[in-house]
């Protein structure tokens, strides 16, 4: 418990968290504006021009989109917090001090994981409250009702919470595996941002090569794709069910967390 408090104090006493919060809120604002414009176009009958159709064109789907505005980049910000919590110790040479105060290194990493999840939750909460207030106002003004009773909407909100927790933990894991701050940040950004498109293309090539459509489903092993799968509706020949995405993400979190603990326990701090 002391360790979680110490970790939170570390974050509060530097300006990093502040910049990340500002970044997250700017991205909420931009994403909200975009999603609101999209919803009013789609629900106004112009869905075809934007290439949106079927399940995605319902008010519930658009509402879910609005209520999760800014979460795409928000997830990246919480992951960065997780990474910085670890790599800062090496970048600023505070690892010595930290491990002198707590020689049990597993506890230190667990403390970081707990503090990171808590921060992920706070970011999710703040983002969601902003989105809910702004979104409900926007949808009601446009006569669609708040849509909050719809399961797709509730589901999107809840699974984003899971996504926030997992990506923060992944951040801590990546930080312990790659202690070089720049290296860790770049790796994480690649894992997250170079998501769907590049991996989709690679798998398309692979499926042509193997002459098998089923291969496409395996895109889910890439974390960013898994994250997408987890929060999206329905499954198809090419997209596995949401829980597969969730399992893959949880798997990554566990593996990186355990690997991080084991490596940290053995590492020489010099």
């Amino acid at each position: 418990m002391n360790l979680v408090r110490a970790e939170l104090l570390k974050i509060r006493t530097t300006s990093t968290w502040w910049w990340l919060a500002v970044g997250a809120f700017v991205s909420i604002a931009l994403a909200f504006a975009f999603n609101a414009w999209m919803a009013s176009t789609v629900l106004g009958g112009d869905a075809e021009t934007l290439g949106v159709s079927g399940e995605q064109a319902t008010p519930a789907a658009q509402a879910a989109n609005i209520y999760t505005s800014g979460q795409y980049l928000g997830l990246m910000f919480v992951m960065l917090i997780g990474i910085l919590m670890v790599t800062n110790e090496f970048f600023h040479q505070t690892a010595t001090t930290t491990f002198l105060a707590t020689p049990r290194r597993t506890s230190v990493i667990l403390g970081k994981l707990a503090a990171a999840s808590l921060l992920g939750f706070l970011f999710w909460l703040a983002t969601t409250v902003i989105d809910l207030v702004a979104g409900a106002t926007f949808l009601s003004l446009n006569d669609h009702g708040t849509q909050l009773g719809e399961w797709p909407v509730q589901r999107a909100l809840l699974f984003n919470l899971l996504a926030y927790a997992i990506w923060t933990i992944l951040g801590v894991g990546i930080g312990t595996l790659i202690t070089n701050q720049l290296g860790a940040v770049i790796t994480a950004a690649v894992l997250y941002l170079v998501g769907t498109q590049v991996v989709g293309l690679l798998f398309l090539l692979l499926s042509n090569l193997l002459d098998s459509q089923a291969v496409l489903k395996w895109q889910v092993i890439w974390p960013a794709v898994a994250s997408q799968v987890m929060i999206s509706e329905g499954q198809s020949e090419f997209v596995p069910a949401w829980w597969v995405g969730a399992l893959v993400l949880v798997g990554y979190a566990i593996v990186s967390g355990v690997a991080g603990v084991l490596i940290t326990r053995r590492r020489d701090i010099a």
């Binding site: 110490a6 570390k10 505070t94 010595t96 002198l100 049990r104 701090i269």
Partner: protein, 312 residues
């Protein structure tokens, strides 16, 4: 501190036994054994790359030994229940977040170690850093950073203090302050282990020394004894005279050894200053200087570590 951590014989004692650290291509510490007693300041000396920092880091569970053990009060550092209340350490290559204030740096440590928050203010006052408490670490001078490190080490009011080149960057006032501070702590019965290259300072500060070179023990013991062991037959006498030849002849008759120091003075060994004075008077030789040169730690250190490759 629980009572379990205290036993009458090993309380505050540091025991290093057969300690070895093999890095990829260098054996930084090689089968090193020594004991540090409480109530005394012990200087930990050795040329650059001798393995001092590596030894201290192994003692503090930051670096894993290849073999051997290092204990404090009979326990490995990792097994101490409240390590900061027992051991305080200032190490090189340890620092604070550049964007965090000094006081917050200490508060973070207090939070992690379960120490009350007011200890941060007290420790800061102890090292005279209170005026800079709310300034960010990146704006600290070298000496201020060093003082913050000492403050961090004192947070838990520890029984054992371990410092790696703490005088680095301190001004003369700061060095004198630290000398008094560390001597005071030892006087209270605490264990003080301090590594340094400032040998004249160490001679003033330390009661005992442990000298290592190339990862191995060279000499351990009370400062006086270590110095005495190297100065065969006592002090040297420096004399200056316009009639060198006559004096040399007179001194040779007293079985003294005489060497020129290359700067116009003679260095006499084997006899004491009064003997030199009497010999000069007897020979009717005029003297311009007659000083006894006590052997110092620096000379002894250089002699002991000569030829033992420093940087490997």
């Amino acid at each position: 501190m629980s009572d379990g951590q205290r036993s009458p014989t090993s309380d505050g004692q540091i025991v290093v036994s057969g300690l070895t650290k093999q890095y990829r291509n260098v054996r930084a510490v090689n089968n090193l054994s020594f004991t540090i007693e409480p109530g005394r300041v012990t200087g930990f000396l050795g040329p650059n790359g001798a393995g001092k920092t590596t030894t201290l880091r192994m003692l503090l569970n930051l670096v894993t030994p290849t073999s051997g053990t290092a204990t404090i009060s009979g326990h490995r550092y990792a097994d101490l229940t409240e390590p900061l209340r027992h051991v305080g350490a200032v190490l090189e290559a340890s620092s604070a977040h550049k964007g965090r204030t000094g006081i917050n740096h200490l508060r973070v440590i207090c939070a992690a170690a379960g120490l009350p928050k007011r200890r941060a203010d007290e420790a800061l006052a102890l090292v005279g850093l209170t005026p800079a408490a709310k300034r960010k670490f990146k704006g600290y001078s070298l000496g201020m950073k060093q003082r913050l490190g000492i403050a961090a080490a004192m947070l838990g009011d520890p029984r054992v203090l371990i410092l790696d080149e703490p005088a680095n960057g301190l001004d003369p006032e700061g060095i004198r302050w630290m000398r008094g501070f560390l001597k005071g702590l030892a006087h209270e019965g605490r264990t003080v282990l301090v590594s340094s290259h400032l040998l004249s300072e160490m001679q003033l500060l330390a009661d005992d020394v442990v000298i290592i070179a190339a990862g191995q023990l060279v000499r351990q013991g009370p400062v006086e004894q270590v110095i005495g062991s190297m100065t065969h037959g006592g002090a040297r006498v420096r004399v200056r005279t316009p009639h060198a030849e006559a004096l040399v002849t007179a001194l040779k008759a007293q079985n003294a050894t005489v060497d020129a120091d290359g700067q116009g003075a003679l260095i006499v060994t084997g006899v004491d200053a009064p003997t030199v004075g009497r010999a000069a008077l007897g020979a009717g030789v005029e003297l311009h200087e007659l000083t006894t040169e006590r052997p110092d730690l620096e000379g002894v250190f250089l002699e002991l570590t000569a030829g033992k490759a420093g940087i490997r």
